[in-house]
Symmetry: C2
Subunit: 392 residues, 2 copies
């Protein structure tokens, strides 16, 4: 159980992502009806637009986005580096990870989009091409102005393309920045989490978990490269967790496909966030117990069944048919995005509730076996591998 | 009071437009919460995509779109002719009427998009450029397959650019088509409305109202050109209504800006439909008692007030600030369209409720004076003149 200034929340939990201060296509009332507990918003996006001052003037992030439950903000580090390095090297969660993604246009093709120095990072805004700067101190100041319940230390994540040498340098810088973040906070009732880095290198992850675990944070996030496979991801978790304080909640940044939840919870992860439910939904892919269903499939044109007949979400309960949803996508109707997002969010939040109950009843293995025996079976979908994990 | 197979509805009422089988950005549950009574969907759009057979296979229009209240479908005539003539001559409600409208791309630039003959109309689909055909008989068959509560006769509307001679020819053809629509219906519990045409010519409108009023329809719609000004529009209504049966409900097609409702109800109009609340909302324009507020205005950036402080809609009640809404538009967040559409629909539906109460209390004049003394006063917005009125 996590206690926050905006209420208690049971762990493990899935945070719904509201990147720029809204969950795309879903109202706070609908989130309440979904029993969504925690939202995660992105410091990078809100820092660039509308700016922390504006959010603060408008009453802080909770009032701004009409959400009186707990909110997490990331530090901006992931976006600063993934939008820079990722764009330069064609890797990262932002590009090509999901179907329909278009590369983010760069105003300075070929130019270095992000420069890191000991003090902080200078980067190019993806919105207007302007040069911007974040440091541990400004990231904390921005996050304090936004006013989320849980805030994150400013870090330098690395990608699977970085070698051990650079990953070590970035990790050590992240450690020095972690101490500066702790020194910069003005107190208040926000929980500050440290971030473990070190890429997919056992020695570095262990060192980072030891270092971050020894600082006076209230919790921890595991960020940066989680390797090139699900096996790598689990190794990274297993290398890190033994060196972190038992009492700290542990957040795995940017992860949360249905098949990931079981194994990560088994490894000791308490908090997740992922754009997948809403982003996949907007691209016409919906979760079912059998795997992802692509609503664009022509044979669904006159399929009168709901996405998942025994589902309790608004979309399935109301009886919207697969044929209707397919039509809404064909006609570019806005309602398509709302109805699929509501279903996918319900699917993942409901799965997380069942996982919580199974943990309490000591039946997690049985639930995982039941889930795994069906999921992916009917609807094959390309695997989405988290090359660069982070707060987005 | 209007009795339909899907419930009773008090007149005068405003029908919320769900062109392609969904109200853009708004769920049926939200429409219920708004106490929206009647929806209007477009036969033209549903005929082209997904097709009447598909809607029928998926349980009919009510089940298709998840709406168990009354539904009206227009006949397709307005879209067939406005997308043809309108595109060729640059007039019509579809193009340039609302801010941000882009011309609908034509696959056959320069070609005639619609050809009318005595039997029906052949036209080019705006979706895929294919040649399509509707006749009075097929329009009724399509509308019967869709299964709305109120259906409309297939007509040939004219624009203000048509002269008296052509307007008379089209009107007389509309009259012959009206008789064919009545002969084509297979019965059932759908109400079939005739459509009065005749442009802005007194002699023609009078003749059309006499002719249509003498046929065994269950109600009537006033369509086609309503002239070039609000004064013309009221003249057209006043020429038509005296010749129509007292017991028939009268629908004014495509009209429904706040300032129109009072005078049209005073003239005897019972039913309205208009895309303005949702379309203006999607373009960042919201109704207030003082007129339309443009959310793009820079001085709203840190305006913490809701759109309208005393408004009971979800958006205002939750306290979403003008600054937040402005941010959502700047960031192209889908939630922007939902929140402004909810407010605008509440505004117009609530105004209609107050008009109904004022009619009963014989205080319509006082309500109109109170409304008019404020509306437009503070926020000037370009007048939207209905050059070609119709079901869209």
């Amino acid at each position: 159980m996590l206690h926050t200034p905006h209420g208690r929340v049971e762990t493990p939990f899935f945070s719904v992502v509201g990147t720029a201060g809204s969950v795309k296509g879903v109202t706070p009332a609908e989130l309440r009806e979904l029993s969504a507990g925690v939202l995660l918003a992105n410091t990078y996006h809100l820092f660039l637009r509308p700016g922390a001052k504006t959010v603060h003037e408008l009453g802080g992030l909770h009032r701004f986005m009409g959400w009186d439950g707990p909110i997490i903000t990331d530090s901006g580090g992931f976006q600063v580096f993934s939008l820079g390095f990722g764009l330069e090297h064609g890797v990262g969660k932002q590009i090509g990870m999901f179907p329909g993604d278009a590369p983010i246009p760069s105003r300075r093709q070929g130019a270095k989009l992000v420069r890191v120095d000991e003090d902080g990072a200078t980067f190019t805004s993806h919105i207007d091409g302007s040069r911007q700067r974040l440091t541990p101190e400004t990231s904390i100041a921005v996050q304090e102005a936004l006013g989320a319940d849980i805030i994150l230390a400013f870090d330098e994540p690395t990608s699977p393309l970085h070698d051990a040498d650079y990953t070590r340098q970035a990790m050590e810088r992240t450690h020095r920045w972690a101490e500066r973040c702790l020194a910069a906070r003005r107190g208040g009732d926000q929980a500050l989490y440290g971030i473990v880095q070190g890429g997919a290198f056992e020695e570095l992850r262990t060192a980072s978990a030891r270092f971050i675990g020894g600082l006076p944070f209230e919790g921890v996030a595991i960020g940066g490269s989680l390797g090139k496979s699900k096996a790598d991801m689990h190794a990274v978790i297993d290398w890190s967790i033994p060196y972190l304080p038992e009492s700290w909640p542990r957040h795995l940044l940017g992860i949360g496909e249905p098949e990931d939840l079981f194994s990560c919870v088994e490894s000791g992860i308490d908090q997740f966030d992922c754009v997948a439910p809403t982003r996949l939904g907007r691209h016409g892919q919906v979760y079912t117990p059998d795997g992802r269903l692509h609503l664009s499939r022509p044979e669904l044109k006159e399929d009168a069944r709901p996405i998942q007949p025994d589902c309790g979400c608004y979309t399935c309960r109301t009886g919207f048919s697969r044929g209707y949803l397919r039509h809404l996508f064909a006609a570019n109707e806005l309602l398509a995005y709302t109805l699929t997002s509501l279903h996918n969010l319900h699917f993942i939040l409901d799965l997380m509730r069942r996982i919580r109950a199974a943990v309490v009843a000591d039946e997690l293995g049985a639930l995982r076996d039941e889930f795994s025996s069906r999921y992916r079976a009917a609807y094959a979908a390309p695997d989405v591998s988290p090359q660069l994990a982070g707060g987005q």
